[in-house]
């Protein structure tokens, strides 16, 4: 079972590195969306520092959601998903490997780039650290919840809009607690409550999302 997990992890990472756009596009999207706001609203330090956490988080959320297609779409189209379903190992384990790859190629680069964007938005050094922690706890949740939605719409020809309708409402708690944590840390308030919530939510999703995703995949492929 461990072998199947590792094998799928290796295969998908190899595929991602052969298709560099899968890694670079969400990242560029994230950076560009964030930089649009100073241009559109105001480049003033105070305004940007105030809206910064929310903007960075909304951009991360959209970048993660728009890249969900890479999770199951190509596997569905070339039939590897069927073969995964017919493997003797639990589908949820294999799904977890795919979700982990999705996080590694979209969530992780976003975390690495976030200090730069935090600086652009005039966040304080403390707030930038908090931003990175919230992204570390929050982006896996985005991939996990997104996988359920993607599994449900994978067989539909134009599932993109439906996917965002399914997934975005579920992202709201993550957005609220994360942006609030970064804002509080700017104001010098305690943030442990928000972080604990995010951590708990992540564990919750980590436990249940793979099971829900595999059930959704079985339904979609029928």
């Amino acid at each position: 079972m461990y072998n199947a997990f590792l094998s799928l992890l290796k295969r998908d990472l190899r595929l991602a590195f052969r298709h560099k756009s899968e890694i670079l596009n969400p990242l560029f999207f994230f950076v560009i969306v964030v930089t649009l706001f100073p241009l559109g609203i105001s480049p003033e330090k105070q305004t940007l520092a105030e809206i910064g956490p929310g903007i960075i988080w909304v951009a991360a959320l959209l970048a993660s959601m728009l890249s969900l297609d890479s999770l199951f779409r190509s596997d569905f189209e070339d039939g590897t998903l069927e073969l995964m379903l017919l493997s003797e190992y639990p589908l949820s384990v294999m799904v977890l490997a795919k979700i982990l790859v999705h996080w590694l190629i979209t969530g992780f680069p976003i975390i690495l780039f976030s200090p730069l964007l935090g600086t652009v938005m005039f966040l304080s050094p403390d707030a930038i650290v908090t931003l990175m922690i919230t992204l570390l706890l929050g982006t896996p949740i985005l991939s996990l919840i997104g996988a359920i939605g993607m599994a449900l719409v994978v067989a539909l020809k134009r599932g993109g809009m439906l996917l965002s309708l399914l997934v975005l409402p579920l992202y709201i708690p993550v957005l609220i607690f994360s942006a609030n944590a970064v804002g509080s840390s700017m104001a010098g308030l305690a943030i442990s409550g928000q972080l604990y919530f995010l951590a708990a939510f992540m564990v919750f999703c980590l436990t249940l999302a793979p099971i829900a995703t595999s059930a959704a995949l079985r339904v979609s492929l029928e």
Partner: protein, 228 residues
Amino acid sequence: MSQEKKHQEKIPLGQKNIKGLFVSHLTCERGYRELFKDLSFELSPGQILHIKGENGTGKTSLLRILAGLALPVSGEVSFDGYDCRKYRSEYNEQIAFMGHKLGIKLELTPVENIRSHCELSIPRTEQEILDALEKVGLYGFEEMYCNQLSAGQKRRVALAQIMLTETRLWILDEPFTSLDVVGIGFFLKMIQQHVDNNGMVLLTTHQDVNLENCTTKYLQLPSGEITI
């Protein structure tokens, strides 16, 4: 069909000393249209079941139900006396499936494709994979990406993949599509070997499959009539 059905009824599902695939009273619908009804047959080790029927009579749907990918409206499928739906993982261990979509990643080489597929069941060494590729006539193409291979060559990769699975029941949906005469020859030889080793094959094809020393059953859809 009536004879088959009587025979089927004699063997209760869940009896453990029986070998092979048992299908009883299977009904399938697609979009409110009934494809076939009350389909019953059995497939014992060393036998081939060739499913025949015009386009749209439910050949692919039947194979997908038998592989556990789709649900029938009613009916049961059991393997060695076990209900396939209840013992999914055990059943999956016994079957190899080749559908219209081959399950080949275009951005990977044949070797990488086969390796990662085998690691979902029995991991294979590099040498075993290369041998299998040589057997299906892909010597020299191991390091090419699959998107540079022709449709027939991709099918040969899938063929090598099935060869290495060591499963007892092969479910093949139009396996000879886009293969040339030589490729079909390879495939028939593999099927022959598999059946000689007490394997079972379920396939749909418009081609004639004539193999030596083995029982080939024909299932006609949608009537469900079985001839040998």
